[in-house]
Symmetry: C2
Subunit: 711 residues, 2 copies
Amino acid sequence: MLTITRRATAPASLSSLVHRGTLAVLAVLGLSAAPAFADEGMWTYDNPPLKLLKERYGFEPSQAWLDHLRLSSVRINDGGSGSFVSADGLLLTNHHVALGQLSKVSTAERDYVKGGFLAPTRQDEIPCPDLEINVLEVMQDVTARVQAAASAAGDDTSKQLAARKAEIAKIQKETKDSTGRDCQVVTLYQGGEYWLYGYKKFTDVRIAFAPEFQAAFFGGDPDNFTFPRYCVDMTLFRVYENGQPYHPAHYLKWNSAGANADDLVFVSGHPGNTERLSTLAQLELARDVLLPLQLQSLQRRHASLERYAGHGEEQARQANDQIFSIENTVKALTGRLQGLQDAKLMAKKAADEKDFRAKVAAKPEWAQAYGSAWDTIAQAQDKLRSRANESTLWSVGRSGSRLATHAVRIVQYVAEVAKPDGERLPGYHDAELESTRMAMFSPAPIYPEMETALLADWFAFQKENLPAGDPFVAAVLDGKTPEEAARAVVGGSKVGDPEFRKSLVEGGATAVADSKDPFIALARRVDPLLRQMFKWREDEVESKTTAAGEKIGAARFAVYGKSVSPDATFTLRLSYGTVRGYPYNSTLAPPKTTMFGLFERSAQFDDKSPFDLAPRWKAAEKALDLSTPMDFVCTTDIIGGNSGSPVVNRAGELVGLVFDGNIESLVGDYVYDEASNRTVAVHSAGMTEAMVKIYGAGTLVEELLGANRGG
Amino acid sequence: MLTITRRATAPASLSSLVHRGTLAVLAVLGLSAAPAFADEGMWTYDNPPLKLLKERYGFEPSQAWLDHLRLSSVRINDGGSGSFVSADGLLLTNHHVALGQLSKVSTAERDYVKGGFLAPTRQDEIPCPDLEINVLEVMQDVTARVQAAASAAGDDTSKQLAARKAEIAKIQKETKDSTGRDCQVVTLYQGGEYWLYGYKKFTDVRIAFAPEFQAAFFGGDPDNFTFPRYCVDMTLFRVYENGQPYHPAHYLKWNSAGANADDLVFVSGHPGNTERLSTLAQLELARDVLLPLQLQSLQRRHASLERYAGHGEEQARQANDQIFSIENTVKALTGRLQGLQDAKLMAKKAADEKDFRAKVAAKPEWAQAYGSAWDTIAQAQDKLRSRANESTLWSVGRSGSRLATHAVRIVQYVAEVAKPDGERLPGYHDAELESTRMAMFSPAPIYPEMETALLADWFAFQKENLPAGDPFVAAVLDGKTPEEAARAVVGGSKVGDPEFRKSLVEGGATAVADSKDPFIALARRVDPLLRQMFKWREDEVESKTTAAGEKIGAARFAVYGKSVSPDATFTLRLSYGTVRGYPYNSTLAPPKTTMFGLFERSAQFDDKSPFDLAPRWKAAEKALDLSTPMDFVCTTDIIGGNSGSPVVNRAGELVGLVFDGNIESLVGDYVYDEASNRTVAVHSAGMTEAMVKIYGAGTLVEELLGANRGG
């Protein structure tokens, strides 16, 4: 599945240790650094690949075509993408993107994850407790302003970094104040460009239809990130504004015939993060240290959740969402790690970097301006390597505990909002506060026993893997055993209550400092250490790599221009490609699957989990046209975050719904290979057939097809 | 597909250059040289793995159980295996094993390959033109006699080789003379043992039922050697004796429920050749030189046939059989080559060989007797390397021309039969003459235009790849261009006529020497060169490797005993294992497929070739129970030659029909890996369902099931 693990605004302690797109720097990486060819590219809408489309496909989209697709596209801040698909605000995304919200509105008695959900009428649509979505309405180049502010700060890279951040916060605040619009300054091309993106934001999003988990995620973890697949991984939300269904000016026409083999198609969505322009030193650190550490901690948490789920059906239901998400992440990271461990791939990257550096070195003014950047980054990676263990394990959020996330956020929030905007930790800038508060006060349920289990295991893991006398371990354990420490903070805490969280935040720094709540006390103990680590990373690693990254970005403009697309940043991008199979298993993976195959895959395993058919599907076998296309693959260049993106045809009609990449696509973090990298999507014909014949969602289908007539 | 390319008795010029089991020598190769574990092993019936079966599966087959399975098993001398399955002599094998015979009895008007065949009554069953089958009735250990003869020849390895061959020919002739039984002395354990195998032979074999090619080989070359599969790769022959259906004392009961996941199953068949005991030096030569050369020449021939087939439907029909066979061989050899190119596999083999040699070196009497054998083989491989190119390209049979095979055979035959039996080329010993004559006088059709195309291209290939002045090139071209030379020999030759071939052989050496037939003249020109190359290889390579192989074989007995099975020799073997899926494509390959999947695979590709459904199948969709198992996989250890082998359950009932190995099994030539090496078999439930509901072969099914009642 192609969600991203955390939204961009997550607090520092939760942010992934793997260097992100905005921190990574440019490198020459084979298919990417040389001018793009094949179907590579996650293009910004200000720079669509018009020339490539004309040359390869004879297709020339108009500006209106591009605007329509952009304004029909939606960012879903749980970590995915979506699109408007009806005049009355129906929003199509993946079931697995909606899964967090579906879990939060489910109970033991009414389990919408297990059973699916269809609102009989619009009045029955269920509001998501804490979902925010964005539509990209405005794009403005602010490169000159940001770069000028950094230049004015002199030669000290720490000061440059601070100046850059301050200027970005200032731009965001000015825009918010003058237009009321939510906005974000996006770093592209490793600082080669800065763009102000203005969003229309919605927070009243309701669930109209979701199939049962087993149909959405048929084949479970084994089939995840593979193809052929047989999933109806869809959910229909409806977006509301002022308590009424929203009527978007732009929404995609539903084409129920769907995509065919060899069709040109487009994906418009929000790829989260790629590392195609990272230097070899960064990739080596990820391969040797960061990814293995991250995998180890995830696998530990997975084991803990599996034990908890083993206690009963209700425990299994509570843990399902996290288990699902971890398995997905582990499989994705493993694929990525395998890509980095591929000697051929690394040799190619090394050769490409050598070539790029040689080109830079050959021109004296380039050599002077940019030549040292690679070594600077390599030195910063060495620094990070020296504290990688602490850097990963000094965290409470990585335990998977929701209470821990809330408690740390409260303690940080009251401190951060007292500072000037430009000096705050990420997630606490004025322009971000509304989103952060929404997450902080979410009514999503918290299960104390699961919290205790997760924390006890995480504390034990920290103790085992950090040296004796480690201050973070001392802060979390507070003189107790891991088990005791977890019981003490969870059992005595009221942080699970949103009203309690609100009262603390309203009471400000004093209320938080005075609180006797044991989880708040824990958060107070770890907060200085989290800040210390954040500052160390900022000073020793990120300020260096950002400055050096900008240099390499500039060198890249000098050598290659804007003929390649920037690394992904969880902002809107356009990809293009062809519906096409690929070589696998010494034979051919097909361009598509059909419903015959769902019954085949189930029969292959005698209907055993995770290949058991959902009962509704089993019952409907005779009613279905089994030759209806179900899922398909295309060469579009995507990555985690693209989950839920629409696939559209030349006419801009919706023909599919991205929900995954094949196993060969996981190395796409570093390199795109058209021969085998494939987007995996639900076919619109399969969605239509299922909604009508399995789910009795004919009214919704009429609404979708009405779009076809009226749109 | 798991046929072998040529029968063991093919003339020297046609024999594969890749060293065969009987020439290869023992080495310690990881999973094989250490006592067998997992489900490894192609066991001779004198040494079944009783201990392993008891330990792993709690199964203790009786001698009667073993005898019944052995005597129900059939060797099919076109290169495969089969089994008796009814009281009236029905013989089950693969469609692709029967394909050569089906082609030979087909014409443009009545194409039984394309359309399939069902004999309405027994009188309508079609006799195969040149098929011989064998049942292994007698096994006798003759090791002492053969080894004594070799020892008596002194220290000269060439003399030892000659003495060994003479003794083997003598044993075979004695047995034939005294019992009338066809027999063969088989070299096992690289000369560690010699066994006299006595066969009951049948030559009146008729075609009772074959499905159409498209159902038997659904998915074509892409899906060949892969799983999941959807093939009904079966044919039913009926065996006759004295013009009447043969009533075998032993035949397998047909179990139409078939195999289930996790069942213990057995395969009884004729694996052709493995190299598990070859030394590292031999594997390196195969990897670096012999396999690439062989692939190159096959790919050239494939291109030539494709061009010919492009001229029209009838040309395509004529070429189909060879194209099919070459594609199969190319995919198999490519898989094998990839196995050898796997650095991990080779490192493991190197480590195992080192360990075995150390064990031998550690005991002075072993070191003295066997220690030098590995170096001897390495030196012989260097010799072969020095003439590998000539050794491959000095051939007319490799062109694929049937005329060339006949012509060379005639020229060699008349010379060889004049010599004492022990001095003849392989294929011309008294005990083999009947089979050789059957092939030589086969009425199978010959297509002159295809012959010309194949020869012209082969002559050109020889000219391009051999040095100027090469005597073989001079002999085949005879001063002409490749195209002219081919036209000259094919156009003016009567070798295509079986009566002409018979008249030459009856005329003996004089008739052959005097013949003005241009193809016979060509064969006369190349014959001395073929003999020269054969002799050179025998003196410089095979005599050394055979003698050294015997030493390593003896060392292996000393170190490991008979706890591993010998390399395959196209003689009867018993394998055992479990019906079980395996990891592939980052998910799970299932233990079985069903008929749902056939329709799925076809729909995935919009019913395009080679994934188009046979029309009969398309029409029967509604009548079929699509959940009927079609194909399945099991861990039994097999290799090329096992095609058509029965799969039986604990009760000794037929539950499946081996027709392939998965792509991961191809490296099985060198190493067996239970994790992913899988036999691919047709499921008996699928065969039954298809015969009844698709082919109207209910009468045959009644006969098969009657076996169930009466057996």
